[in-house]
């Protein structure tokens, strides 16, 4: 049963001179309860924007152009801001990329976590405090640290504290935006183990935004590959790794070091992602594509279900 369904989400950013950058275009996804989805792509491909859009947390220049986000029988794009505030954190929470400044530096960490609890649930302060202690323990931080300030935490601890805070109201969905970037390998492993454990124990549904394919391989059930703001390929993790059909996905897999074949040379994809204010009329990957033909520069390929539960947006791939 899908816990959340996104249909045709499109998001623009307005620039100073009025032009619109098409940051996310026509992205759809469906997340089953207890599953995790990896949202993969290069930096700037729109994955973070899409997630911010889901929670309606875009910056001032952001505009949600169209789309539906179905959760619990409600289209989250149609409700008022006040209604949305009730959904935020209690149903869906997010752990931001690079939690350096994501915690308020002049308030104690414990207070900030308790704040979320007190906001969405009808409990007293003492109960909230106890839960804060429990949450911190879950992520491997001693409860006494609740009375400390963010600058007294190490980088990894802050990331874990943010994760604890994201779980404070037992949400259905956790969005983790680049949870392992800028952390050393040991901490990365910790965080990933944590996420896996939470998924199992709490039946938590996770959307993991990352450009790190290794992470995706470890804990995701499904993968959505984004390029230039659009969906390139969408399938289960096994299919993506063993049978990637979109040329971009194929190159990504090639660029990823294979532990079984350490001597093969790493391939990188030449060229750069398209500038969002000067998008080509055809396929956005076409300039860098190794399979391109004439139609590719003329027409945008639609997302097609070429095999059961395997979606690809490429003219060269037929069902």
């Amino acid at each position: 049963m899908a816990i959340i369904e996104v249909r045709n989400l499109s998001i623009n950013y307005l620039t100073d001179n009025g032009t619109a950058l098409r940051a996310v275009e026509d992205v759809s996804l469906s997340l089953e309860q207890g599953h995790s989805l990896g949202l993969v792509g290069e930096s700037g491909c729109g994955k973070t924007t899409a997630m911010l859009g889901l929670l309606r947390l875009l910056p001032a220049e952001g505009r949600i152009v169209s789309g539906e986000v179905w959760y619990g029988g409600v289209d989250l794009m149609r409700i008022s801001e006040r209604e949305m505030q009730k959904y935020r954190w209690s149903k869906m929470s997010i752990v931001f990329q690079g939690a350096m400044n994501a915690l308020n530096p002049v308030r104690k960490v414990g207070d900030q976590i308790a704040e979320a609890i007190l906001l969405h649930e009808d409990v007293d302060k003492a109960t909230a405090s106890r839960r804060v202690g429990g949450l911190l323990e879950t992520v491997g931080i001693i409860p006494e640290m609740a009375g400390q300030y963010p600058h007294q935490y190490s980088g990894g601890m802050r990331q874990r504290a943010m994760t604890a805070m994201a779980l404070a109201c037992s949400p259905d969905i956790l969005i983790a935006d680049e949870p392992t970037t800028a952390l050393d390998v040991m901490i990365q492993a910790q965080i990933l183990n944590l996420l896996q454990r939470l998924q199992k124990e709490l039946d938590l549904s996770i959307i993991l935004v990352t450009h790190d394919l290794g992470v995706v391989a470890e804990i995701c059930d499904d993968v959505l590959v984004m390029y230039g703001g659009k969906t390139a390929e969408y399938a289960s993790v096994d299919v993506i790794y063993n049978d990637p059909l979109h040329p971009y996905t194929q190159r990504l897999m090639q660029a990823f070091p294979d532990i079984d074949n350490p001597t093969s040379t790493l391939a990188s994809i030449p060229g750069f992602p398209p500038p969002l204010d000067a998008l080509p009329p055809g396929c956005r990957f076409e300039p860098r594509c190794h399979l391109r033909s004439e139609i590719c520069s003329a027409e945008n390929p639609p997302l097609v279900e070429v095999k059961p539960d395997h979606y690809v947006a490429c003219h060269q791939v037929k069902g």
């Binding site: 623009n12 307005l14 910056p59 001032a60 952001g62 949600i64 169209s66």
Partner: protein, 307 residues
């Protein structure tokens, strides 16, 4: 040079800044062409009758007459010269000192830098107007003394500003390169660092001129201006002492409004320049959320989206 063209280009499109510039230049114009614009010569000795003292405005004296029977409008026009002169000269002096101190403190750092910054901190803590009062009352009145006093106390803010800019600039690539090529310190400062800091200094200078003009007017109002010259502050001093009981608003208000006019013009110009030179492009998170959703719900203007 390129960056100045850029700055001018952006400035041209900011109506508030342009308005400020016009306000300023109108006064500069008046000051320069004072002898041709003023209906009377304030220094000229005239015969007055008792009825002429503090006479209200009429056809021959558009702003009436002061307590000595002289034309207020002419004094106002000539007063522009003194106020503007003090303002600009004192301010440039302060800028010069401040920039030098800031460049040295920022570039050389270490003991010199620290010592200079301690000096800045000292001066910042000591209250300005009382110090100026004490100086002038001990030293005597005079145009240059006022300029010096204002200039010597006004450089601290610039010094701090310049220093913090230099600190961030000197770590940049092109400076490292210049050093590696063996350029002398002086050359590096003048040819590489200074041009980068100049736009900010200029924006700051415009603002500081307004501060200097106000400082001069305050000192003159309190009776410490150059007794040989008319400035707006001095006019207000006389007006306050002698005209307040008669409520001679034509003498009391125009000099003050003149100060406000110039000051406002400078502040508008300066703030605009500052914004251009030092942009804070970050948008913040608490804007109206309905804008974000407008296209989906269909309740916003569609003209926002082009292309």
């Amino acid at each position: 040079m390129e960056q100045f063209k850029e700055i001018w280009g952006t400035f041209r499109r900011r109506p508030i800044g342009i308005l400020g510039g016009l306000m300023l230049f109108s006064v500069v114009f008046i000051a320069i062409f004072a002898p041709w614009l003023a209906p009377y010569d304030p220094d000229e000795k005239i015969d007055v009758e008792p009825g002429d003292l503090l006479a209200p405005p009429d056809a021959e004296h558009l702003l009436g007459r002061d307590d000595a029977g002289k034309d207020v409008l002419s004094q106002l026009i000539y007063g522009a010269r003194v106020s503007l002169t003090v303002g600009f000269v004192a301010s440039f002096m302060a800028m010069f000192i401040g920039t030098t101190v800031g460049l040295v403190a920022g570039y050389y750092g270490g003991r010199i830098g620290n010592a200079l910054m301690r000096l800045v901190d000292f001066l910042l803590v000591i209250p300005d107007l009382p110090l100026m009062l004490v100086f002038i009352s001990m030293w005597g009145r005079g145009l240059w003394k006022i300029i010096l006093v204002i200039g010597l106390l006004g450089w601290t803010y610039t010094a701090r500003l310049v220093r913090s800019q230099v600190l961030s600039i000197k770590e940049r690539q092109f400076v490292m390169r210049a050093r590696a090529l063996g350029a002398s310190n002086f050359r590096i400062i003048m040819r590489h660092i200074f041009p980068q800091v100049l736009p900010i200094i200029l924006a700051e200078t415009v603002l500081s001129v307004s501060g200097a003009i106000i400082a001069e007017s305050s000192l003159s109002f309190l009776g410490l201006g150059d007794p040989m010259l008319i400035s707006w502050g001095m006019m207000l001093n006389f007006a306050f002492e002698r005209a307040i009981s008669r409520m001679a608003w034509w003498f009391l208000l125009p000099p003050g409004f003149a100060i406000v006019w110039v000051s406002l013009g400078l502040v508008l110009m300066g703030s605009t320049l500052e914004e251009i030179v030092n942009p804070r492009l970050k948008s913040h998170h608490l804007f109206d959320p309905r804008k974000m959703m407008a296209l989906v719900t269909g309740m916003g203007s569609r003209t926002e989206v082009k292309g």
